[in-house]
Structures are given as structure tokens and as C-alpha cells.
Symmetry: C2
Subunit: 419 residues, 2 copies
């Protein structure tokens, strides 16, 4: 049975008045936490009372919480679609809810976007002169309380940041899933939120690749619009400028989170093509922290040694510029890590299965599961390179982590019975 | 039953008078070939008739013939001691024979030194102004006839070149062993001899390493003699000069043989220590020809791909400068080869067994056999680096080759019986 207590987010000991929330439901759900906000600047929710939290202690089930930090927007993330696919079932927005919801729900997982915890909407940010990257534009108290509530098995009414209008929409109900993924700019920024994470990932796209990707996207758009070359030149400048403008806040608030991550996926330009700046062929590094509970790093051939491997040769023929792997121990922000790197891209399925068969600790349930997952989503970006491969592998590692946590919880009472 | 025929080496169709050879025996042995020489310039043998050969056709047993080309002298070779050790039993000079014999005999193997086929002794070479490397100082007809005879199961009276006196001593009887190793300057020089080889090896010491080794040896000698520094400087010059003097003939007659070798062991300076010229730490490459019957190249982790491996890491700790392996396909004088390379040296046994456990196709009969062999001869030069490791592995590969040849011969009649 759940035991609930109410307090304001300002002072955990003060009392607060409680009213039913506005839109998404008509009363308290079992194991639910309701949050109200004081600020009248927040759009949409219609609440006017002081920020008030009801927490209820955990039932017998517990949600495993995964943090994914990434610079780009939410919801559309390929990584999340790969991750949820590993657990079977497609991830979809909540049924019958706000069509602009950023949430993705499947049988096992719920992915929420941390942009929903913006405390300032687009207008508010403009007025105060802060970016969405700035912690002052985000409500970490609410983020902490809601993630904590979900982790302990309690449903919450999570706000929605509408990326189309730039406004805060009325909240949506988030029931505790088996696995909660919190994805966005700041999953590891706040120490309290960070401590709730069972596993954390940082997606680190290098500036060169970000720039190349944005150019590709924008040039495609420009071609469609049949603009002239002069304007393309101008566009390159403005792309560079917009990336540069984001940089100070990115470096101050987003980038430092990577030191806390259990796994970092680094996306860099290839080293196989001299002076490549197309950003089509990528060198991707999976940096895995050592000593993380329920997580054993992937390795190539010989755990703990340093190896570089060009699989293309007598048994496997690859087209230019080929594929090169590297594996070895290293340190990353003072932590002991193992790094697996893939440079280049797959042309065909046999290259992928060949590579998979030589990797160890990938937490597959059957031979070729990585390849099967990659093939299933062959249309996703990065399916022929290290981004897709490592995202898929991280998905499998998270499934393994979830199963280990679950089995250790069911194993504990059995132990107690024996004693 | 052996069928014998007699002819001179000058003309295979001419007849020749036969007398019993001088010293080593008193009559024809069963399956024996007796060789006489015309030249009175040859020392020791005492024969005066024209060169005469008796060949007898093979019996049911056949000798496997291995060629080993190396620049340095014979007999004392560490490689040969490692090779014979793989077959069990120590190699010793023929009992009761010439104490200056270059031959080494064990239960399974007989190693003969090709210096014994010098047609010119030390004085003769000086008179004619040719080095021992020059084919004109060597009797390839006799070498061919005798190796061919032994291979077909017939004992021969092989001359002895006395390295102490520089003269040709009376011949010694060589009975056909299971494995005959012909070691010396020219095992692959003559096409007819080359065609008799079941497997051939070229030991390729780079000039830098030759020079460093010679300096070490000579400086040690100088230290013992308590010479002064000025003379050491002079010595360095003379060492360089003596290596340089050999070079034209070496390049013309010895070096070109490596293109015929089934396996080449290349000894190079380390790349782990920048600008190292001590020659203590070595980079050793085992170059293995593809498609050689009864010989499958050794590989590291993944056959046919390209791999570099630093085993030192979390599981294995090595002292400076560590150990680095490289493996991959390549071409060598137009032939497809696989190359296994080791740079650095072992400090302890656990490093060696760790490396052995990750190599494939090494033809061991039990886990750790390479390590056992290396430990058995820990006092041999190169036991802590790639020279010892690859010599031992080549020894195991030759044992495997021998067993395959033997079993295919015993299998053939069985097949015939079935049909």
C-alpha cells in the first residue's frame, strides 16, 4: 500500500492546498503524484496554487531509470527507437493525448523528453535572454520529484513543452513503466536526478560532424527551394554562426555531464579518408565506464588489452574506405573506461554479422541479434555505421541491466525465505 | 629393394670406377650412395678418381627435407636446437666421428651444414678471390645428389668442411633420418636442391641488428681484454667495414633466396623505443606463405584480417617498453603471405602463456606447449622475444608438416585396400 505525503517544492516541510489538476484526469490515481506550480508565467497548466508535491512511497515494483543526454531535440531520436525496439513492440505517443506530446510509450519502456521541464517557454526565454540550454530555463526540482516518484512506482502528471508553439501545454499522465528513459539536455545536470539513474548515456556529436550534418540538411532544403549558390554560401556562414552561438551555454551546461555518463557514444569524422569533411563516413567511439553495477563493457577479442582490427581482408571484402575497429582500456575524466571504436561503414549484411561474431559481452540472447536489430531498422539513420551499431548494443546492454536488476530483486526475498 | 646406378657428376651417362671410400666405412652400406671427387685441390678425402655417384631408388620410407637459409655459421644455431627439441631428444654430433663435424643428430632429425659442400677451402677461396657466399666456392651438383639420395632413403658419405682449419676433412656417413634439415648459406640457391625441399625457411637478420649484435659481442670481448676507448672506436669502424665487405655477395647470392622461402623470420630493430640502436629489444616478423601443402599459417584472433594487439593492459602487466603484436595478410615478392609480428620482449612466464593462448594454428599437441618449449630452453638466446617464439612455432609447424606427410603416405595404401 502506498503512503503519501504533501509538501511544497520550496520547503519540503510546509503544507500546501491541493486541488484536482486541470485537464488530463478528474481525481487522484492510485500511486500518483500531482504537481502544481506557483509561477503564472508558465503557459497552459492553469494551476495557480504554490508548487505542491504529493509523494507516495514505493509499492513492490520499481522502475529502472535510464538517462540519455544529447544536444539535439527529443522524441524523434533514432537512438530511442532502437532502444525500445530491443524490448519488442513499437514506441508510440500516448493514445488520445496531446498530439504534440514528446513522450514515447511501448510495452516495457516510456521515454520522456526533458524539454517538458522547461520552466520558461520560448517567449519567456527570449524575454530573459537565456537559451533552453541554460539551467535557469529548466525546473530541476520538478524533474527530480517526478522522476523520483515514477522510479518508486507512482504515476505523475508531467507537463508538456510544445515544440511547435513553444508554449507549455497542460500536463499528461505518466504511469510508472518497467523502464523509464529520460532524454534531453540535462539528465545528469542535477545531482539529485543523477542519483536516480540506474544507467546514463551521453551522446557526444563532435562539432565537425554537427556542422557537416546541418550543412547536408540545409543544403538539401535549399536545393529543393532552388536557391542560388550565393545564398548557399550565406547559409554556410549562418549555420556556423548558429552553432557558435549555442557553444558557450553548451560548453557550460551540457558538455560537463559526460563525465558522469556510464556510456558515451562519441561521433567523430572518419580517419580513413584523409581530410574528409563530408561527415558521411563516421568514426564512432563507445566509451564504457568500468565498475558499473550490472554493466560489463563490450570487448573485442581480448578483454583489457589494446587491439586494432581491420576485418576486411581474405574472409571479408569491404569497399573503400573499409572498416577499422579499435578496442582498449583508457581513462575518461579520471574514470577507468574501455573504449570500442568503429571507423567506416558496412556495405552489406555479411560485414555486420562478421563484426558481431567477433564482439564479446554484447548481451545478445541469440547469435546475430545485433544484426537482426540493425536489419529491422535498416532505414534508420546510422544503420550502416558505428552510431547504429553502438546504439543497438547499448540497447541490449540496458535490457541486460534491467533483467539483472529485476532478477536480483526477485532473488532477494527467496534468499530471505531460505534463512 | 633398392636399385642402384653409377655415373659421374660431370656426365650422368658416363661410367666411373668405384673404390671403397677412405675412412669412415669399409664397404657399401645398404641404401648408400658413395661420392668421389676428381679435384685434387680438395683437402682430406684422399680420393683420386673422377667424381662418381651411385644412386639407389627409394625404399618404402622417405625423408622429409627442410631447408634453412641463414647468413651466419652452422651447427651452433639456436634455431636448430629449438627445432630438434620439439621432436624430443637432444641433437648431438655423430658419435665417434670427426670432432669438428658440423652435423647434429637426434632421434628424428639430422641437421647438416651446407658449408660442407664448399668446393674451395679457405686457401682455395683466397687464391681465387671469392668468398664462401659465392656459388663458385660451393659444389651444388654434389649437394643436390646427396640431398636427393638421403630424401629417397639412401645413406651418403658427406664431406666435412672444418671451420677450425678451413680445410675439407674426410667425409662422414649420413644415414637417412626421418627429417633432414639442410642449414646454411644456399639451401634454396640451386633449383634442383630447392625442388627437393618439403619446407623452406629464411632467417633474415636486418643489417641494423647484425651490426648491433656484432658490436655487443666485440665490445664484450674488448672489455675483457681491457682495451681503451680509442680502440673501441676503431673496432666499430672495422665491424662496419667487414659487414659492408660481405654485402655485395650477400645481396647477390644469399638474399634472393628469401623469395622462395615458405617462411621467413625477419629480425628488425624495435619500434617501441624511439631511435633505438642497442639491438636488445627486437621486432620480429614471421612471414608465412599461403597455399603451401601441409602448412597453414599461424594467426591472431581472426584469420585473414588485419590486427594489432598490445596484450599488456588490465589482465597482463608488462614492463617498459611493453609488447606489441601485429597480424595480417600481405604480399611478399609477389606471393600471398600472412605476417605475424612481435615487437618487444617477455619479462615473465605469464606473458608468454597469455600470448600463446591467443594464437591459433600453432600446431601444439597440448595447451601451453610453446611456453613449455621456451621455458625448457630459457637460456637460449632470444627466449624472451620474437626470435625464440617464432623459431619454436616454426618447429611445431614442421613437426605438424612431417606428421601430415607421414600420415598421408600411410593413408594412401589404406585407401587402396578399401577400393
Amino acid at each position: 500500500m502506498a503512503v503519501c505525503s504533501a509538501y511544497t517544492t520550496q520547503s519540503l516541510n510546509s503544507t500546501c492546498s491541493i486541488s484536482t489538476p486541470a485537464k488530463t484526469h478528474l481525481g487522484f490515481h492510485q500511486k500518483q503524484v500531482v504537481f502544481y506550480r506557483r509561477s503564472s508565467k508558465r503557459g497552459g497548466s492553469g494551476s495557480s496554487s504554490s508548487p505542491c508535491v504529493i509523494t507516495c512511497s514505493a509499492g513492490d515494483s520499481q522502475t529502472v531509470v535510464i538517462g540519455l543526454a544529447a544536444d539535439s531535440g527529443c522524441g524523434k531520436s533514432t537512438f530511442m527507437r532502437r532502444l525500445t525496439s530491443v524490448f519488442g513492440g513499437a514506441a508510440e505517443p500516448p493514445k488520445g493525448g496531446n498530439p504534440d506530446s514528446n513522450t514515447l510509450i511501448s510495452d516495457m519502456t516510456t521515454v520522456i523528453c526533458l524539454d517538458d521541464y522547461h520552466s520558461l517557454d520560448r517567449t519567456g526565454r527570449k524575454e530573459k535572454g537565456v537559451t533552453a540550454l541554460d539551467p535557469r530555463a529548466n525546473d530541476f526540482d520538478l524533474m527530480y520529484e517526478q522522476v523520483k516518484a515514477i522510479k518508486s512506482g507512482v504515476a505523475v502528471d508531467k507537463p508538456i513543452y510544445n515544440h511547435v508553439t513553444g508554449l507549455l501545454d497542460p500536463p499528461e499522465l505518466i504511469k510508472p513503466p518497467k523502464i523509464l528513459v529520460i532524454e534531453g539536455l540535462h539528465p545528469m545536470f542535477d545531482e539529485r536526478v543523477r542519483d536516480l539513474l540506474d544507467f546514463s548515456i551521453y551522446l557526444d556529436i563532435s562539432n565537425e560532424v554537427k556542422f557537416a550534418w546541418k550543412i547536408q540538411r540545409d543544403l538539401t532544403l535549399l536545393k529543393t527551394l532552388q536557391r542560388d549558390m550565393a545564398e548557399r554560401g550565406h547559409s554556410l556562414e549562418s549555420i556556423k554562426a548558429s552553432i557558435e552561438a549555442r557553444k558557450p551555454d553548451f560548453d557550460a551546461y551540457i558538455d560537463p555531464q559526460k563525465k558522469y555518463a556510464d556510456a558515451v557514444i562519441e561521433v567523430l569524422p572518419t580517419q580513413l579518408i584523409p581530410d574528409d569533411n563530408e561527415g558521411k563516413v563516421l568514426r564512432v567511439r563507445l566509451i564504457m565506464k568500468e565498475g558499473v553495477k550490472h554493466f560489463s563493457p563490450v570487448y573485442l577479442f581480448d578483454e583489457g588489452s589494446t587491439i586494432s582490427w581491420i576485418p576486411c581482408g581474405r574472409k571479408l571484402t569491404c569497399s573503400y574506405p573499409g572498416i577499422k575497429f579499435h578496442y582498449g582500456p583508457d581513462t575518461y575524466f579520471g574514470n577507468e573506461v574501455s573504449i570500442l571504436e568503429m571507423d567506416g561503414q558496412f556495405d552489406r549484411l555479411d560485414e555486420l554479422i562478421y563484426v558481431e561474431s567477433h564482439l564479446s559481452n554484447i548481451s545478445t540472447k541469440f547469435y546475430g541479434e545485433v544484426t537482426q536489430q540493425m536489419l529491422k531498422h535498416a532505414d534508420f539513420p546510422g544503420s550502416n555505421n558505428g552510431t547504429g551499431l553502438f546504439q543497438t548494443i547499448v540497447g541490449l546492454k540496458i535490457r541486460d541491466l534491467y533483467e539483472q536488476i529485476t532478477s536480483s530483486k526477485t532473488a532477494a526475498p527467496l534468499e530471505a525465505t531460505k534463512a
